[in-house]
Amino acid sequence: MALPEVKQSATEARLASLSLPTAGCTRDAREAALARLREMGLPNRRDEYWKYTRPDTLVQPEAPKAALFTADEPMMFDGIDRLKIVFIDGVFSPEASDDLSLEGVQIERLEDICCKDIHWAKELYGVLEAGGQQPVARPLAALNTAFASDGVAIHVTGKPSKPISLIYNHDSESSDAFLHHVIRVENEAEVTILENGPAASRFNKCMEIDIADGGILHHVRAQGRDHERRAATHMFARLGAESVYKSFTLTVNGVLTRNEQVVELTGDDAVAHVAGACVGDGDFHHDDTVFITHDAVNCESRQVFKKVLRNGATGVFQGKILVKEGAQKTDGYQISQSLLLDEDSQFLAKPELEIYADDVACSHGSTSGAIDETALFYLCSRGVPKKDATNMLTLAFLAEAVDEIENKALAEDIVSRLEGWLKRRS
């Protein structure tokens, strides 16, 4: 079907200011992605998949300005021993980063790979993204594959001693950044990936993760700080037999965040947990879009998303579990809940199931409402001030999502961040 003219012109307008980077072994993937993008066009507000989030500012040629966050607040994960890889406005900074050598893992810059003709990343770059374009188009990911000039390729062969931490700093008020990472976790290997930082005024990030049989990947991400920033991120994960993928995202602040996670369970007995907690105030808009495909026997997937919204903030959840024919013994769970702290906030959800196998246990739930008055009264009657009681109940509400983080130190860091946010605003 031909692209509507409005879409085509919007897409071409966006492409006009971009040029394909020197590509090497990623050239074919970039050209294919560009062709794909031209076919589907960039999203607009009439697209069903963007029903609740307006993509205009993510698509327009110029990135809207975003003021820098100036408060003197310690960065996330500061107390944790990790290997730091720093990007400033989407460009790798060798000075700020640690030495990239670590036992059990090989880390390379995307720019370096692009000079080579043969590299393992060729098998992955743009491949999972292309696969994730069906049945729903994700044009911003294709845009990323075509034009991302920086990022890292992480090849995990053993069990590195510390987490690999990707830090995205923001230094220019009008930066428009693309980053594309590829990660391959080999058989029985295990790694923890951390991400944090505001990144840029407008940030488009794509991560492709391939986990071989028995591999384990933990992912903990904190998005926040600069309130005026915008971000569209995609994570594509492919899971082999008995592999484990656990991802948690904390989002505070940001006028527009759209996080898409596309997970495909292709090997038997694989496990995927995707969780998120967000707290938003005012013109905060946060969208979690998750698509989990079960294509093997006896796999488990969990989606746990909690949102606390106030002063007119908007939370969106679009989750889907697709169980393909033959994916018997699937255990799929999905919960999305929002706590609306005042009359003006809103929660929009579309929790979907699509099931083609009969011996499965899939359930989903979605709730929305105000803070429980009875619980609040109980705490107040025990002498807890109302503000503290509200914060306690809010934290308790978010706990189910935070509990998905296995590493205690990381979970504590996340909780203290949430406590700080609530205290500052109560």
């Binding site: 069903e48 609306l340 005042d342 009359e343 099931i355 359930s363």
Partner: protein, 506 residues
């Protein structure tokens, strides 16, 4: 039904459920009445629209209304978002108007109706006689002499054959007649309400219906009147290559109550036929409407050949405070179903309920659900949907719950369960939940904790486990409605009550 016999049913699925679904799969109404018919030329264009209007002896304003709708329709595109697949429909290759020759001069009373037509309804179990009780309805023999009276409006292809109990209803001020008669006799009511709930340009099929609807039922219940009997319409498609487009308009004025039942069947044919209906319900202050459907159009054969494409727009507008509407549907027929009976809860404290059982087998596809739009304060809605899929069928629940900023203290509870019998079918859930204020509570769950607590408590107290208790309560509710249906196939629908929730997917 061979397919189902060979199916390996997973552990935990009740055998009774499998048998019930299998039983539903044998279509008993596939025969055809041989009767001389009169057709309008094939296809649809302004001349056909005028012709239909003329056949119904409509006033000029109605013809203009239809023509405007047709104009609108030519600019619209067929919706593609539903999870159903079917070959493109050639809208110009079918008849839009077909009526038995014998109906050329409108019979003045039921005695004058062609005996062949009366026999058709007799055979379907709906004798068009003003009798107290109908054959074959379980429990009917025990009914008191005053019994369940049911007034029937029978629609055969494009025309209404007759309406029973009209005089008795008139005594209470209730108007129950075919819509073509209402356009002639009560133009002020039709003008005021027609298209006010489902606007002409609402969607592709509703617009087509607005242009070419040939007949349907009209109900008006005056203020404070509790309709003395149940009203029902029975739709029968008989002619080949003919689309049926009926329009139903129900108005419950302040403080009134009416229960309305709808049934439908069609002969077994190799080619698919289109059915695009519109139902509009207006509920004023303190009024209550119950609308129940047993949809049993021909579902196509075991290989997916033939069947009815059922594209229906049904909507109720709870305009007054404390008004209430309840949709109950049992969907067993049709090759393709595309149907979302909805409630607009405009009045404060108004209530909407939707209870649905959708069963698909062989190659049937159903995409059905509801919309609950909360606009008034303290509005409540409840959705209970059960989809059962067997053979190679696809069954989708698609729903919307929307709480507007002004709908303070509103409440919604949604429960959708699906059951798969065999590994070649599919069950899907596509709910949209939009909450725009914080005093409202919205729950969409597969857990079974919010069915009427008192009933649940009673059952639990008698030693049932939670699942059994919920099944009993939900099915018990269905049973009430099913037993009230004045049609023989209510028997068949009653078997669905045996379907259990065990092994279901939420």
């Amino acid at each position: 039904m061979a397919a189902l016999d060979q199916t390996q049913v997973k552990e935990g699925v009740d055998q009774e459920t499998v048998d019930a679904v299998r039983e539903v799969g044998t279509y008993k109404y596939g025969w055809e009445t041989e009767i001389e018919m009169e057709y309008a030329p094939k296809g649809v264009n302004p001349d056909i629209v005028r012709l239909i209007s003329q056949k119904n002896e409509e006033p000029g304003w109605m013809t203009d209304w239809r023509l405007a709708a047709f104009e609108r329709w030519t600019q619209m595109k067929e919706p593609k978002w539903a999870m159903v697949h079917y070959p493109a429909i050639d809208f110009q290759n079918q008849y839009y108007y077909a009526r038995p020759k014998s109906m050329e001069t409108k019979p003045k009373s039921l005695d004058e109706v062609d005996p062949k037509l009366l026999a058709t309804y007799e055979k379907l179990g709906i004798p068009l006689k003003e009798q107290m009780i109908l054959a074959g309805v379980e429990g009917a023999e025990n009914a008191p002499a005053e019994g369940r009276k049911v007034a029937v409006d029978a629609v055969f292809d494009s025309v209404s054959v007759g309406t029973t109990f009209q005089d008795e209803l008139k005594k209470h001020g209730v108007i129950f007649c075919s819509i073509s008669e209402a356009i002639r006799e009560h133009p002020e009511l039709v003008k005021k309400y027609l298209g006010s709930v489902v606007p002409v340009s609402d969607n592709f099929y509703a617009t087509l219906n607005s242009a070419v609807f040939s007949d349907g039922s009209f109900v008006y219940v005056p203020p404070g009147v509790r309709c003395p009997m149940e009203l029902s319409t029975y739709f029968r498609i008989n002619a080949e290559n003919t689309g049926q487009f009926e329009r139903t308009l129900i108005i419950a004025d302040k403080g009134s109550y009416v229960s309305y039942l709808e049934g439908c069947t069609a002969p077994q044919r190799d080619t698919a036929q289109l059915h695009a209906a519109v139902v509009e319900i207006i509920v004023e202050e303190d009024a209550e409407v119950k609308y129940s459907t047993v949809q049993n159009w021909f579902p196509g054969d075991e290989n997916g050949k033939g069947g009815i494409y059922n594209f229906v727009t049904k909507r109720a507008d709870c305009r007054g405070d404390r008004s209430k509407v309840m949709w109950t549907q049992v969907e067993t027929g049709s090759a393709v179903t595309w149907k979302y009976p909805s409630c607009i809860l405009r009045g404060d404290d108004s209530q909407g309920e939707f209870y649905s059982i959708a069963i698909t087998n062989n190659y049937q596809q159903a995409d059905t659900g509801t919309k609950m739009v909360h606009l008034g304060k303290n509005t409540k809605s409840r959705i209970v949907s059960k989809g059962i899929s067997a053979g190679k069928a696809q069954n989708t629940y698609r729903g919307l719950v929307s709480m507007h900023p002004k709908a303070k203290n509103s409440r919604n509870y949604t429960q959708c369960d699906s059951l798969l019998i065999g590994d070649k079918c599919g069950a899907h859930t596509v709910p949209y939940i939009e909450v725009r204020n914080n005093s409202s509570r919205c729950e969409h769950e597969a857990t079974t904790s919010k069915v009427d607590d008192d009933q649940l408590f009673y059952c639990r107290q008698r030693g049932m486990d939670e699942e059994e208790a919920v099944a009993l309560v939900v099915n018990g509710f269905c049973k009430d409605v099913l037993q009230a249906l004045p049609m023989e196939f209510a028997m068949e629908a009653q078997q669905l009550v045996a379907i259990s929730l065990e092994g279901s997917v939420g």
